[in-house]
Structures are given as structure tokens and as C-alpha cells.
Amino acid sequence: MTRTIRVTVNGREHERAVEARQTLADFLREDLDLTGTHVGCEHGVCGACTVLLDGEPIRACLMLAVQADGQRITTIEGVAPAEGLHPVQEAFWAKHGLQCGYCTPGIIMSACAFLRERPAPSREEIREMLAGHLCRCTGYHFIVEAIEAAAQALAPPIPRPTPRPTPRSTPRNE
């Protein structure tokens, strides 16, 4: 049983006929050749296939492609600007937040949405978010550091206080 769907992925509209039992993850990879969305466990546990649906992270293996009809999806291919990397990607590179890289696209999608909601997260909050993503290489430590670094990179610059004239009588602590 097939149906025709129209879905916007990374700002581009696609129209395709899909079988009802095809997951969104398989649709992205096989029909649209967007193989950056990785497929791990295929039942919602590992988090490798996480993409954004209207800006919110979801498991692409737990949504049917037919359900994406009329929806707006962002995958890892849609994260970076035209040139260079997104600050979250930059931070993963700088902090060695990946080894084999299989889990990375899913984590980056989650991290982008997470940092929008919590711009200055604690380590505890980062670890709670990461509980939804399995990584078998890194031991998570560098991933936590990468997300911390990304939060700092994304933070709006702290406005500098307007300098006040220092009274002459102020003692200098030397």
C-alpha cells in the first residue's frame, strides 16, 4: 500500500510515493539519499536517527514516512550554514566529542534543540539529555565537554559594563 507524501526536508520540498510501513528514517536515507541520519537499533532506544520535526527532536525510526506528509524536517545535513560548521559541530570537533561518529548526528540534532531551550545547562542536565543517546566509543565525557563548549559558543556576548571613572583616592591593592 503506497501513498504520495509531500514533505519539506532542510528547506527543500519533496514529493514521493511511500509504502505505509516505511519509517521516516528509511525514507530520508533511501528515498532522499540523506544518509547522515544514522539507523542503529530501529526501535527508539539508541537515538542515532534523531531528527527535528518542526524544530523539536524526534526519533525518525519511530515515525512513519506517511505521517511526515505536510511536515517540516531538519536532518544533520541541514544543520551547518552554507560554509563551515554549526557551532555545535565545531565544538564536537574541537573537544573530540566523537570517535566512530555513528551516534554523532543524532546527538547533534538533540543538542541543538536542547541548547535552544537551556542555553546554559549544568553538567547534570547535559547528562540527563544524553541518556537518550547511546555512544559505545567515547564514554560520554568528551561529548559532555563538547556540549558545554557549544553552549558557551552560542551564548550571547556578555555586555561589558560601562566603565566608570575611578576616584583618585581608591587605594591600589598591590
Partner: protein
């Protein structure tokens, strides 16, 4: 493709959804958030002939609070309730935080979780603790099924094969009641090995007016801690009394043994968690639930 083939319908009205379920002849399944159903399809534990996708039905995504009840339509995502709870209900906020992970909660619905009836899941126990009701619509009309009579066995409820659960209703605890929630799981967001949720209200003289407790992960269904509910009302809530009631409630459990834990371990942990939730509930009396 991992799931076995099925037909897919996306009805535009609840009546259409109900008749699509009837046409499925007992092999139709409702698809809402899909966070429990799609894994079951992928593992081929479920092989429905038709999926009735209710995601496009109007009017099912409402969160309504009225006369001491909280009603959630079948399309209220767990994340939406979590956001509602952030400013309204520390109890719901704490429970929701333990339901899987944000990407799952963004899609998963409260009603879907309650109806899926995983015995180790948090929301079914909360429904039982808060004297909840499942609203079901079928070819014979609408009916309310109290949580007490809803859960029959793991993944098995009183819902008929041709019925659609359209909403759940929680009875909000009375003003000034306290709450407690505790679970033990291997990782944050995993299904609990054992967990408990409790609500306690005190009378003007300081004695317990009402106590309600439910366990999850401690049997084939969520289970009420009847020993707690019967022993505490009218009594002064001393630490010794709370501990004794918690122990009695846990002793009545018949938890399963599996690869994760023995039955004896689960009963032992259940007693400890029941006591902790009661102590926490007592400490929170007079605050916001």
C-alpha cells in the same frame, strides 16, 4: 522494511476513526505518538492489519483543568504536559521527567502511554494513584473506565479492540496535599526496575486525612499500595508508622523476576521507595502538588 505490511488510514473525524477500528475486525491499532506501537511493529511483536492514524483528528490535543480534574485529549504529547506542569504541578513535572527522553516525549502521547499499559511505566501508576479515568469511544458509544479496573495484565487493558481511547482524566490532589515520587532504573529515562508514587493529605489536627500510593515495575500491572491507604488515615504520620505501612504495602506485592532483578530485590526496593515517597509527601504537605 522491518514492520510487516499493513493498511494505513488517516481519518478526519473521531466517528470515522471508530468505524475504521470496527472495520479492522479486532486487528486494527490506533496510531498516535507511535513511541510504543512502532517499536512493537519493528520487532513484529504486533502485526496489525490496519493502522488508524488519529494524528490529524481535531480537538484531541487539549489540556483542560476543571473542578479538580485534569483532562488530557488523546493527542496531548508527553512534552506538552511536561511544559504545562513546569509552572503548574511539581508532581506531574517530576513524573514526566522520568518518562523516556525528550525526543520520545515530543511524540509520545500521555493517553498512548497509559493505554499501552507497560507495568514498569510511570504514567499508568500516576493514573492509578490519582484515581484516574480512561475515556473510550467505540461503536456502542462512549464510556469511562476507572484506572482501578483498566489494567488487567502486562500490555492488556479493559479497552475493547474496537475502542479508541479519546482522553484520560486525573483527579488532582486536594489543596495542601503533599506528593512523593521515586524510582530505581539503570539509566535515566529507562523503564523503572521498581518505582512508587504517593499523595498524602493531612487533617487540621495533623493526622493523615488521606493517603494514596501506587507502585510500578512491581507486578503485571501498576498496583495500589492498599496497606498504606488503609493504615494511615486517622493516624499521626510518625516516621515509624510510615515505614511500617510502606513495608506492609510492599509485602503484598507479587513482582516478577527477570533478567534485570529478582522478585525479592524488587519487593525490598519497593518497600524502601514507598517509605521515601511517603516521607517526601509528608514533608511537602501544605505546598503545591
Amino acid at each position: 522494511m522491518k514492520p510487516a505490511p499493513f493498511d494505513y488510514v488517516a481519518p478526519a473525524s473521531l466517528d470515522e476513526a471508530v468505524s475504521a477500528m470496527a472495520t479492522g475486525g479486532g486487528d486494527a491499532k490506533v496510531l498516535a505518538g507511535g513511541q510504543s506501537l512502532v517499536p512493537m511493529l519493528a520487532l513484529r511483536l504486533a502485526r496489525p492489519t490496519v493502522l488508524v492514524d488519529i494524528n490529524r483528528l481535531p480537538g484531541l490535543d487539549g489540556i483542560r483543568e476543571a473542578s479538580g480534574m485534569l483532562e488530557l485529549g488523546a493527542l496531548v504529547r508527553q512534552r506538552a504536559l511536561e511544559r504545562w506542569a513546569a509552572t503548574r504541578s511539581p508532581l506531574f513535572a517530576e513524573v514526566l521527567r522520568h518518562v523516556a527522553h525528550p525526543p520520545i516525549r515530543n511524540r509520545g502521547t500521555v493517553v498512548g502511554n497509559v493505554v499501552h499499559a507497560d507495568p514498569a511505566s510511570e504514567l499508568p501508576a500516576l493514573l492509578l494513584c490519582l484515581e484516574g479515568v480512561v475515556v473510550a469511544r467505540g461503536p456502542r458509544g462512549e464510556r469511562m473506565i476507572p484506572a482501578d479496573r483498566f489494567y488487567r495484565a502486562p500490555l492488556t487493558t479493559a479497552l475493547d479492540a474496537d475502542e479508541v481511547a479519546t482522553a484520560v482524566r486525573f483527579t488532582l490532589p486536594p489543596a495542601g496535599a503533599g506528593w512523593g515520587f521515586a524510582e530505581v532504573s539503570r539509566r535515566h529515562g529507562d523503564f523503572a526496575l521498581v518505582g512508587a508514587v504517593a499523595v498524602l493529605a493531612r487533617a487540621a489536627d495533623g493526622t493523615v486525612a488521606r493517603a494514596r500510593l501506587a507502585f510500578f515495575g512491581a507486578g503485571g500491572t501498576p498496583v495500589r499500595g492498599l496497606a498504606v491507604e488503609q493504615a494511615l488515615p486517622g493516624q499521626a504520620p510518625t516516621p515509624a508508622r510510615l515505614a511500617e505501612a510502606a513495608r506492609a504495602a510492599a509485602a503484598a506485592l507479587a513482582p516478577d523476576a527477570d533478567i534485570h532483578a529478582t522478585a525479592a530485590y524488587r519487593r525490598e526496593v519497593a518497600a524502601t521507595l514507598a517509605e521515601r515517597t511517603l516521607v517526601a509527601a509528608l514533608a511537602r504537605c501544605g505546598g503545591t502538588t
